[in-house]
Symmetry: C2
Subunit: 638 residues, 2 copies
C-alpha cells in the first residue's frame, strides 16, 4: 500500500513517513499483514458460539450449508450482527451508567469535583422524563434524574424512558407494533447474548428484531450519556479551536486525552489550567506550560466544552505519539488501540490507563474514582511532566499543519442560533428552507476511520458532493475529526463548497448570530454518543412538520465505520426511520435474508434502511436520490 | 466416520442407521461436512469485534502477530473466552429471571397455574438471603424473595446475594481480594461485552478476571434458578424412571419436552395427566393415551419432579424424531438444534416453539405466557394429537432399549437420606467416610455430548475408573443423560462398578433409606442450572470440615462439553476452588498466557484450575491424582 493509499491528510502522511524512517509499525502495516482477510468472517459465515465449532459455511454453496447444529447462513449472520450490536449497546450503556452514578454522587454531595454545571439542562431533562421540577432544589431533582437513569439498565415493565420520551409518537407506535421496545439497557444486552447462544433463536428475522431492540437500548444509552454529560459539564456552545497534529506544541508538556467519557478528561482540563500545574511544567523546562490535546471522542468532549484542540482521531491515533512531542496519552475506554503501548515504547511518551475495565500491559495505570478525580488528574499531569523530561528533542517531528474548527453545535445551541432569526418559532427558518429547497435535506455524518479506506477519502468526497447540492451537514465523533482536519468545520468552507441555497441559509443564521459570516459548513454536534443530539433535531423538525421521522428528508452516513458501537448506532438510525449509508460492507453478505432485511424489508417496517456503497461519489448520489424521494413524499420540489 | 465412532449407545446407533437408510442428515453428517475445522477458530486466534477485521494470528508465529488494532494472541483469546462466558451467564440469567418473574406473579396472585408448591424451600431460601419469615404468610415472603431476585440482575452496591450467601466465607474473601465479585447479573454480562469491544481492555489477565466475575454472576443465576424452580415446582426427591429411546411408545401420543426451563414443561406434564387430554389422545387412536418424554435439561426437570422418562439428550436430540413415533417436540430455549426442523419435516412430527426469543422457521409457534400456561399446554397437546393422526406406522422404528434411572437427588434429598444414618449430624457419614477413605473424593460430572467425541465414551470410561477407586459421583444435565442411558444411575451399577469402600457407604445409606440395597452409582442432582446443588453439597462439607472449598477432595468434569453455558459453569467451578476437567480443548491454545492462567495461575489465585485432557482414562488418572493431593493436604490417607 502506497502512503497515498493510507490517508488523504498531509499531517498524517508526514507522521506515517516518520514511522517508516524510524521502523515503527503502524495500523496500516498491521492491516497489510492481515490481508487477505478471512472470507468466511468477511461474509459473516463463521460461528464460534459453541465447542462443536468453529463452523463455516461456504458462501459459494460448495461446502457445508449449515453448521454442526443446523444453523444456516441466515442464522449465523444474524447471530453475529446481533452480538455486535449487543457489544455496542453494552459500551454506550457502560459509558452512560458511569455518568449516572457520578450524577447521583454529585447530587448527594459525594463527588465534590462534579458540581451540577447546567441547571437549565437538568430541569429540561427532568421535565421531559416526568420528574417534578417546580419549587425543587437542583440537587433534589438530580437525585431523581440519576435514580431514574440507573433504573433504565434493568428490566422494567415500561419502555425505556430515555427512548420513549425522545422520539416521535409515531416511532413509539411502530416500535410497540414490532415488539422491539427495550425495557432495560443491560437486560436487553443480556437477552441478545442469550438468544444468540447455542440452540436458542434460529429464526433470522426474529434475531434481527431482537437486535433492533438492543440497538434502541443503545440509543437510550447514548441519549442518557449526552444528557448527563451536559448536566455535569455544561451543554456545549459554539467554540473555535484547531484540529490536526500541528496543535501539539514543541515547547509544552503535551497531554493527549483519548477515549470517550468526559468524566476524567473534563477534570484534567480544569486542573491543567491551574497555576500550580503550569508552574510544574515550566519548572520541568516546558516554557509553554501544559498543552492538552484531544483524540477521538474524549477529544470531541473537551473540544466542544473547553476549546481543547483535536490532535487526531480514529485510525491515525498512533500519529500523535509519532510526533515525538507527546508526553502522555491518557486513555479511558473504547477505540483505544492496544498498539499504542508499542508506539509509546518507541518514544518517551507515557501511556496512562485510568479505568478498571481497560488496562494495557506496560502502560501506567492511574485508577480513576469520582471521589478523587482532581487528585487523579494531578497525578496524571505530574506523570506527563516527568515524561517530558525524558523527551528527545532530536526526535521531535510535529507536522506544522492544523485547521480552524468550529465545534459545539448542540441542539440547544442550534435552536438558540435559529431563534435569533425567528424568536417565536426557531425551527421555522429550517422548515421553511427545507420547503423552499434552500436546504435540500440533512445528512448526519458519524463513525470512524477504517484502515480499509484511505483515511478521510470517503468523508471529503461525500461532503463536497452533498453540500454542492444544498444538503445541511451535521457531524459527530470521528466524522467530525475527519472534517475538522480538512477545514470543513469553518465558515470559509461554507463560502467555498456550499450550494447557493445552503450558503444563503448558513449565512443568514450566521449573520443573525453575530458571526459576521456564515455558519461553518459542518455543524459539529459532539462525540459519538452525541448522535442523540442529531436525533433530537430530526425529531423536532418532524414534530414541527407533523410527520414521522420516516418521512423527513434526513439521512445518516458512516462512510468509514469501525466499531460495534457504530453498528448499533447505524441500526437505531435505521429503526428511527433514516436511510443510513455505510461505506464499509458489514459482515452480512453471506445471508441473502439478512442482507434483504437490512437493505429492503427494513424500509417497509421502519422507513429507514441501510444503503451499503463503498464508492463515495455513488454514495452521495444515492443519498441525494433518497432525499429527493423523501421530498417528493412531502410534496416538496426535488 | 463409522457409526461406532458416533456413539457408544445402541439405541442411538439404531436411530443413526435408520437415518442413513432414510437419507436423513444428522449432526454427525453436518460435523463431517465441517471437517477440517478452522485452525484459527480452534485456537481462539480470530477476532471479528470490529469492521477492520476479521483478523487472525498465525499460531505458528509465521504470519501476523497482532490484529489490526494491535491486539495480540493473548488479548484475542481472552476476549473470545470472556464473550463465551458472558453468553453463558446471560442464558442462565434469562432462565432465572423468567422464574423470578413467575414467582412474583404467583405470589401476587397473577399466575394461578403456579402455586407455591414448596413452602419449606421458600422459607429456607428467604432465611438464607435475609428475608424475615417468622409469622409471615408464604405469599408475602415470596414477594420479597422474587423482588430480591429481580434486583440481582442490575448493578447494586453490594455483591450478589445468591452468590454471597451460598459459598464459604473463605471464597467471599478470595473473590473480594481479586476484585471479581459481581454486583449484578445482567450488568456484569454487559460489562464483559463492553470490555471486549474494540479498544477497551487490552490486558489479558484483567480480561480473564472480568470473565471470572461474569462466571460468578452465572453461578448466582444458576443457584437462583434452582431455588425458585424448587419453590414453584417442588424440591426433587428420588424417583425411579427409565431412560433412552425405548421410552417412546408406539401406542401413545408421544410428546418430547426439550430445552431448559420447567416453567412450561411442568404445566404440560400436569395437564397431560388429566382425563380430558387422555381421552383426546385415545379418541385419536392412541390407545396408550399421552406419553410425555424428556430431552436435555427440560427432560431432567420433569424427570426428577414427575418421573417423566428421558428419551435422549444433547448431541442425539434428533434421534427422538428418527423413531418415527414422536408426535411433537416442544422446545423452550437453549441447546435446541435448529436442525430439528429439518428432521421433523422428514416425518409427521410437529416441532413446537414456545418462547419469544427462540423461534425456528417452519416450526409451529405457540406463545407461552404465565397467565395462560394451562391453555398453552392444552393447545400444545392438541397439536401433538393432530400430528399423531398423520403418523406413518410403517416408519415407526423405536429401538426397544431403555435403562432404569434413579433421579432427583437434590441437596435436601441427600441430606435427608444421610439423616437416616445420623439424625443429629447428617453430614457425618460423608465426612467420616471421606476421612476413612471409603469415599476417596467426590466428582461432579456436568455438561453435554460433543459431536467431536464418540457419544458417552468419555463419561463411561471415566466413571468406571473413578468409582472403582471409590470416588462418589454426582451428575447434572446431559452428563446424567449419558449415565442414565448406560444404566449407571441404578443400584445395580453400584453393585457392579463401585469399589468396596464406596459400595459400603452407598449401601449403608441406601439401606437406611429403606431401598433394600445401595444408592445408585450416580447421584442425579438435576439439570445444568442445578450444578448449584452440587456446589451446596461441597460448601456444606467444607463448612463442616472447617476448610475452604479449595482444600476439599472434590473435582468437577465436563468430559464432552458443548455450550457457552458449560464454559461459564466450568469457570465458576474453578473459581470455587475445584480442579475442573474438560474433555474438549477450548479455543484458548493460541495464547500461552491464557492457557497458563486457566491451567496453572488459577490454582494460585483460586485453588481451582482447568485440567484439559481428551483421553478419558488419563483424565480419570489425573483427577484421582488431584484427589490424592487434596487428601494429603487435609492430612488424610491417599
Amino acid at each position: 500500500m502506497s502512503d497515498q493509499g493510507k490517508s488523504t491528510d498531509s499531517a498524517t502522511l508526514s507522521a506515517i513517513g516518520e514511522a517508516r524512517k524510524a521502523g515503527i509499525e503502524t495500523v496500516w502495516d498491521r492491516y497489510q499483514a492481515q490481508v487477505p482477510q478471512c472470507g468466511f468472517g468477511e461474509t459473516g459465515l463463521c460461528c464460534r458460539h459453541c465447542l462443536q465449532g468453529p463452523c463455516r459455511i461456504d458462501p459459494f454453496g460448495e461446502g457445508a450449508r449449515t453448521g454442526v447444529c443446523g444453523a444456516d447462513a441466515d442464522v449465523m449472520v444474524a447471530r453475529g450482527l446481533s452480538r455486535a450490536i449487543a457489544a455496542g449497546a453494552a459500551s454506550h450503556g457502560g459509558h452512560a451508567k458511569h455518568l449516572a452514578h457520578t450524577l447521583l454522587k454529585s447530587a448527594k454531595g459525594e463527588a465534590g469535583d462534579y458540581p451540577l454545571k447546567d441547571e437549565a439542562k437538568l430541569r429540561a431533562v427532568a421535565g421531559r422524563i416526568g420528574i417534578k421540577t417546580e419549587g425543587r432544589e437542583a440537587r433534589e431533582i438530580a437525585v431523581d434524574v440519576a435514580e431514574k437513569a440507573l433504573q433504565e439498565f434493568s428490566e422494567k415493565e415500561s419502555p425505556l424512558v430515555w427512548a420513549a420520551t425522545t422520539v416521535t409518537k409515531g416511532r413509539v407506535e411502530t416500535f410497540l407494533k414490532l415488539g422491539v421496545v427495550p425495557q432495560g439497557i443491560d437486560s436487553t444486552v443480556a437477552e441478545s447474548m442469550h438468544r444468540t447462544t447455542y440452540g436458542v433463536d434460529a429464526d433470522p428475522v426474529n434475531i434481527l428484531l431482537g437486535a433492533v431492540k438492543c440497538a434502541l437500548a443503545d440509543y437510550a444509552a447514548c441519549h442518557m450519556a449526552t444528557d448527563i454529560a451536559d448536566i455535569l459539564f455544561g451543554t456545549p456552545q459554539p467554540v473555535v479551536t484547531r484540529a490536526n497534529l500541528g496543535v501539539i506544541k514543541s515547547d509544552s508538556v503535551n497531554i493527549a486525552l483519548h477515549g470517550h467519557n468526559p468524566l476524567l478528561s473534563d477534570i484534567i482540563v480544569q486542573v491543567a489550567g491551574e497555576q500550580e500545574m503550569n508552574e510544574l511544567a515550566v519548572a520541568a523546562g516546558a516554557s509553554g506550560g501544559i498543552n492538552i490535546v484531544g483524540v477521538c471522542c474524549t477529544g470531541n468532549e473537551v473540544m466542544m466544552r473547553h476549546r481543547i484542540p483535536l490532535a487526531t482521531s480514529s485510525v491515525s491515533q498512533e500519529t500523535a505519539i509519532l510526533t515525538g512531542a507527546l508526553d502522555a496519552m491518557v486513555v479511558d475506554y473504547q477505540c483505544i488501540m492496544p498498539a499504542l503501548a508499542g508506539a509509546a515504547e518507541c518514544y518517551h511518551t507515557q501511556l496512562i490507563t485510568t479505568m478498571p475495565i481497560a488496562k494495557i500491559p506496560n502502560a501506567l495505570h492511574i485508577g480513576f474514582s469520582e471521589a478523587g478525580a482532581r487528585d487523579c488528574a494531578k497525578e496524571i499531569i505530574r506523570a506527563a511532566t516527568d515524561a517530558f523530561k525524558k523527551r528527545d528533542p532530536a526526535r521531535i517531528n510535529i507536522p506544522g499543519i492544523s485547521s480552524a474548527a468550529f465545534a459545539g453545535f448542540s441542539t440547544e445551541a442550534i435552536l438558540s442560533a435559529l431563534s435569533l432569526v425567528d424568536k417565536d418559532d426557531p425551527l421555522k427558518p429550517i422548515t421553511d428552507n427545507i420547503a423552499s429547497g434552500n436546504i435540500y435535506g440533512v445528512c448526519l455524518f458519524a463513525g470512524c476511520n477504517n484502515v480499509k479506506i484511505t483515511q478521510d477519502a470517503n468523508y471529503t468526497a461525500m461532503i463536497t458532493e452533498l453540500v454542492k447540492n444544498n444538503v445541511l451537514i451535521l457531524a459527530t465523533g470521528c466524522a467530525s475529526g475527519a472534517f475538522a482536519r480538512h477545514g470543513f468545520m469553518t465558515p470559509e468552507a461554507t463560502e467555498k463548497y456550499a450550494g447557493d441555497g445552503l450558503k444563503a441559509v448558513l449565512t443568514a443564521v450566521g449573520q443573525a448570530a453575530g458571526l459576521n459570516g456564515p455558519l461553518p459548513l459542518v455543524l459539529h454536534m459532539g462525540s459519538c454518543v452525541d448522535n442523540s443530539r442529531a436525533a433530537d433535531i430530526a425529531v423536532a423538525i418532524a414534530d414541527k412538520l407533523g410527520v414521522d421521522l420516516n418521512m423527513l428528508p434526513v439521512v445518516a452516513s458512516a462512510p468509514e465505520p469501525v466499531t460495534e458501537k457504530a453498528v448499533a448506532i447505524g441500526t437505531w438510525a435505521v429503526a428511527a426511520g433514516l436511510p443510513t449509508h455505510l461505506g464499509i460492507v458489514p459482515p452480512v453478505l453471506g445471508s441473502r435474508t439478512v442482507t434483504e432485511v437490512l437493505t429492503s424489508t427494513a424500509k417497509e417496517l421502519f422507513g429507514g434502511y441501510f444503503i451499503v456503497e463503498t464508492d463515495p461519489l455513488k454514495a452521495a448520489e444515492k443519498l441525494l436520490s433518497v432525499l429527493g424521494e423523501r421530498r417528493r413524499g412531502l410534496g416538496l420540489g426535488s
